[in-house]
Symmetry: C3
Subunit: 188 residues, 3 copies
Amino acid sequence: MEKENTVTMEELQKQIDTLQKKVTRIEKSRKDQLSIAIVSGDMDKILASMVISLAAAAMDTKVKLFFSFWALSALRDKNKKAKGKDFISTMFGMMLPKGRNKLGLSNMNMAGMGPVMIKMLMKKKNVLSLDEMFKQAGELGIEITVCEMSMDLMGFKKEEFIDYPGLRYAGAATFVADAGESAMQLFI
Amino acid sequence: MEKENTVTMEELQKQIDTLQKKVTRIEKSRKDQLSIAIVSGDMDKILASMVISLAAAAMDTKVKLFFSFWALSALRDKNKKAKGKDFISTMFGMMLPKGRNKLGLSNMNMAGMGPVMIKMLMKKKNVLSLDEMFKQAGELGIEITVCEMSMDLMGFKKEEFIDYPGLRYAGAATFVADAGESAMQLFI
Amino acid sequence: MEKENTVTMEELQKQIDTLQKKVTRIEKSRKDQLSIAIVSGDMDKILASMVISLAAAAMDTKVKLFFSFWALSALRDKNKKAKGKDFISTMFGMMLPKGRNKLGLSNMNMAGMGPVMIKMLMKKKNVLSLDEMFKQAGELGIEITVCEMSMDLMGFKKEEFIDYPGLRYAGAATFVADAGESAMQLFI
């Protein structure tokens, strides 16, 4: 009887260990983390991304932003210039907004009057400006990754982007890997 | 031997209790719930939001919608008016669509002909109208929250919005908190 | 004492079994799966969808795409024609882009010059074309479902769509059901 018991105890322990492993795997596969793929370069969409990200970071949720396509405009530094661009990259660089303060609205842009109005209102209503939001994002450890494929496609160079703590460069696989273990994923 | 056994039994119980707590935490952190941040105010995007929400609610999934920026237009009641607005809020109020039946399309809007065509087709094909979808949403307990920052920015007042059961007002932090414990999150 | 032990052992086993069931339910409720509702028909958005999907599929993540509204244009086969359409469906068919190579950009479309530039750049930078991406998607087992309501609304017929392995037709409920058990959901 005792021996039987012992065996069963070992069996129970084994079952518990197996369960423990599964639970650990589940916990690791869904971290308290927010991953956002930002593809849009409209001022309102970038604003929404930053407002959500700052709210999440304030709750100690890890935030990882993946900037691609049009969103790269929001990461350009108006005071920086890249050299040695080919013709088409130079053209793209001229046509796309140079930095987060030059972005248009997805709606009611009205040849640039819309964004001016929104910025005035944000100031009046004491909403943080995009500049301040990016600063805070950096301080709160929000991770920003630049999509390498988009960068290559649009001819942007690393030396054109804003100074941001730990700015990274990676491909879509990195976004998917991060998003897969995040509790929240968004596409903006 | 018996004593040894007893100790091990207690240990096993402890391990099971620890596991049980972890599993409960996991279950609570990922409810059968759909959170949508709706930022777009295009008719097609609002339609998509409602179709997905109603489908989810029909499957007993809890649905929480967070309306912000342009999407606020969809919550305006054309028969209601707010008093005491400042100049810029009055202007915004005039420029933005007054209610879900005045929304434009993100594509092929054709100066308002597009939405008219879509509405005709929806009727012909027996798809619920947006009016009916919002009614059903209320009946199915779909929660709607108005983004307070957007409201403040655009100068909208509570008395301008539609009558909707339990309409709430909150900030982005509420969206993030809800989204974090939802099995599904979308940004539209 | 022994009897007591035995009882406790049974109890422990019961607790372990209950936990095991919960863990299994959790595992099933959050598969290594990516569900995307693609509503936009812009070339850049379809590109983003495919780049993310292929990256996920390459990591052995199951990918399920749900094409609706404007995104149906991306699934049209330019060489196929549907018969017996009513007037409004024929009009829609004429106005909407015929296939993934006719899509416009959400930004900088410049009357079709934007997409031409992007395609040139993609070729130059050795990025897969949309044609190649769809081919690879099929080979990697990425599932594509056509939204039946959108199809009906826009008057598209099954015989107009591209040949794609296992192309499915279903409603929003299918998207929600799939998304609910996916680790990742996106709305594009």
